[in-house]
């Protein structure tokens, strides 16, 4: 079996680290546009040459702060040129980047700072209250750099102001390339946090080799070249945004347009047209949202849309393609596989709607049974993956690592099958994961917090269908001695303990549901979530729709 974590000469990578890829592109095409960033009403554009100069200045700043190879930094920054400049500057030094979901509470952010051993934290001014709370929560907080987006009127500088003092570094690009050569392929590059069952997110550590391998695989699968321009609407704290719409076009020598996620959807087609984007990457709910808007644009230059992160309903795919005339390429991957592991073929005629496609050349995929045996086509088992894009390990979770890596394969926790032609199909999750608007949420996390309320005797959270988000959360609560409790009390208790997007949309109390005397459980007291979902569909969905 191939050891993918040991990079052998036979599988030589073209670049020694992620920064070397950027530097190579800048040397070859210094005047070509690389990044356009639209934040609020401010637009910034950087050619490859100009961008690398900015990265060199940021790198000089990070070095002056004492950061060295192996250290970690956390970024609480929205999609923007600032994020990218700090990202590549850190990677060029061998400093690990761990971005933090800006929707998280201070408690969740603190956990990530501590778990990733962040030495410096960069945050936008609007997150200041939570950043200050991180300091209080941790006692010993990392050094914090608060960045503003407004001209220097307030107490915090813009990144461009900070970098001004390091302008000289931008002129020493030759030295920059030479100094970055110490960063190796196997070095840790990023830690991406994904939902965890225990109540805290788990950090997947990705190496420079992981990022380069997956970026190359995606760029080559879709035949991307210097004319490729991606629109990055998915947040950069997730790997889909980072790899598909940043590193893959970088690999191809193309360019990327950074905009702020969900808020930008109402102007999606204007953004595509204005910036001449020809590819983008989305989650299925974005397609549903775009279909929901009245403005139906055709005549744009979008050649294709990459889609993954949750099940893509066939109806949505077909409606979207018919309405907008853009092919959707469904694929599958996880944070643990850097981003995508498989895709439908670029040849539209060879696509199989409803399938997640064929494995990318960068990895192998298999359907295994509970004992790790390979299952034949048509049989359902666990989707397992091994390859250059499979992550190094979970951060500080040895038991979880042992469970995830067995028999040389990474066990995804997703069930699926493959057909005779090698196309893969997703059947569902092995666990209770809920995917709401592309965010993974384990119901156990919310239940664990709810049990801390003195009025709560028993509770259950389930995912139910939502017209835009795929799924949303519904909570069922049994109170101690049947005492009264309100949805506002539940929300008030959960708020500031979990991120807002994890808050249940609806909350029901068993004392108000005479035909549900108790939370349904099996003989071993295992919660029967399917029964609760059926109950919701049969008794509550219609009423919720009327009210909503």
């Amino acid at each position: 079996m191939r050891d993918y974590q040991r990079i052998e000469p036979a599988h030589a990578f073209a670049y020694q680290n992620v920064f070397a890829l950027l530097e190579s592109r800048a040397r070859l095409h210094p005047d070509q546009l690389f990044v356009t960033s639209l934040f609020q009403d401010v637009e910034e554009r950087y050619t490859y040459g100009e961008f690398v100069r900015r990265v060199a200045m940021a790198r000089s700043f990070l070095r002056a702060k004492g950061l060295i190879r192996g250290d970690a930094v956390n970024l609480i920054i929205q999609n923007s040129a600032d994020f990218l400049i700090l990202y590549f500057a850190a990677l060029s030094l061998g400093v690990v980047v761990s971005p933090i979901n800006y929707n998280f509470t201070a408690r969740e952010m603190s956990y990530i700072v501590k778990d990733s051993r962040g030495r410096m934290l960069f945050a936008e001014e609007e997150y200041l209250p939570r950043v200050e709370a991180i300091g209080r929560e941790l006692g010993v907080a990392p050094e914090v750099v608060v960045l503003s987006r407004n001209p220097a009127s307030g107490p915090y500088p813009r990144l461009s102001d900070v970098l001004e003092e390091h302008a000289a570094a931008g002129e020493r690009l030759e030295a920059l390339a030479a100094e970055s050569s110490g960063v190796e392929l196997q070095d840790r590059a990023v830690i991406i946090y994904t939902s965890g069952t225990s109540g805290y997110p788990k950090g997947a550590i990705l190496t420079h080799a992981n990022l380069l391998a997956d970026a190359q695989a995606i760029a080559e699968w879709f035949g991307w070249d210097r004319s490729t321009r991606t629109l990055c609407i998915l947040p950069l704290f997730h790997n889909n945004g980072q790899v598909v719409t940043l590193l893959a076009p970088l690999w191809a020598g193309g360019s990327t347009v950074m905009v702020k996620g969900n808020i930008s959807l109402a102007a999606f087609w204007d953004l595509v047209g204005r910036y001449e984007a020809n590819w983008t990457s989305v989650i299925p709910t974005i397609l549903s949202v775009l279909l929901a808007f009245k403005g139906k644009r055709t005549g744009h230059g979008l050649r294709g849309i990459v889609c993954g992160g949750a099940l893509l309903p066939k109806r949505v795919q077909l409606d979207f393609e018919t309405t907008f005339g853009v092919p959707i390429f469904e694929g599958y991957g996880l944070t643990e596989t850097t981003s995508f592991s498989c895709f439908n073929p670029l040849d539209v005629e060879r696509r199989t709607i409803g399938s997640i496609g064929l494995p990318l050349p960068v990895n192998e995929m298999a359907i295994l049974d509970e004992d790790g045996h390979l299952l034949p086509p048509g049989e359902v088992g666990e989707i397992c993956i091994r390859g250059f894009n499979v992550f190094l390990e979970y951060c500080n979770l040895p038991e979880r690592n042992e469970k995830a890596f067995r028999g040389g394969w990474f066990h995804s926790g997703d069930y699926g099958s493959r057909d005779e032609r090698g196309f893969y199909y997703i059947q569902g999750r092995k666990d209770d994961l809920i995917i709401k608007g592309g965010e993974n949420i384990y119901p156990r996390e919310i239940e664990n917090v709810l049990y801390g309320h003195p009025k709560v005797k028993d509770c259950a959270v389930v995912g139910v269908e939502h017209r835009l988000w795929g799924e949303t959360l519904v909570a069922f609560v049994e109170t101690v001695d049947g005492q009264p409790m309100t949805a506002a009390e539940v929300e008030g208790f959960l708020k500031n303990r979990i991120a807002d997007y994890k808050l249940p949309s609806e909350c029901y109390f068993l004392r108000d549901l005479p035909d549900l005397p108790e939370i349904p459980k099996g003989p071993t007291k295992k919660l029967l979530r399917t029964e609760l979902r059926k109950y919701y569909d049969a008794h509550l969905r219609q009423a919720a729709r009327r009210e909503g």
Binding site: I263, L265, L271, F293
Partner: protein
């Protein structure tokens, strides 16, 4: 913006956000339920009710009730 459109928006906002009243100082993030997902839901409802095509540079203004009213005034009235 005219009183009728203002009233239509306020009703839409109350229904979507499930709040008792629509105050002009309400803003995304500060109101618990107004997160980025709910925001898109709100935008789809506005699109359904008013059928406006917002310029990308106007989107960021729509993170407060007052900002939405200003944008609606620009496109609807």
């Amino acid at each position: 913006m005219n009183a009728e459109n203002r009233r239509r928006f306020e009703e839409l906002f109350i229904r979507t956000m499930k709040v008792d009243a629509c105050r002009h100082d309400m803003k995304m993030g500060a109101l618990t339920q107004w997160d980025s997902l709910k925001h898109v839901e709100l935008l789809t409802e506005i699109d359904e009710a008013f059928g406006i095509q917002v310029e990308p540079t106007d989107l960021w203004k729509m993170a407060t009730v007052q900002g939405i009213l200003d944008v609606l005034a620009k496109y609807v009235d």
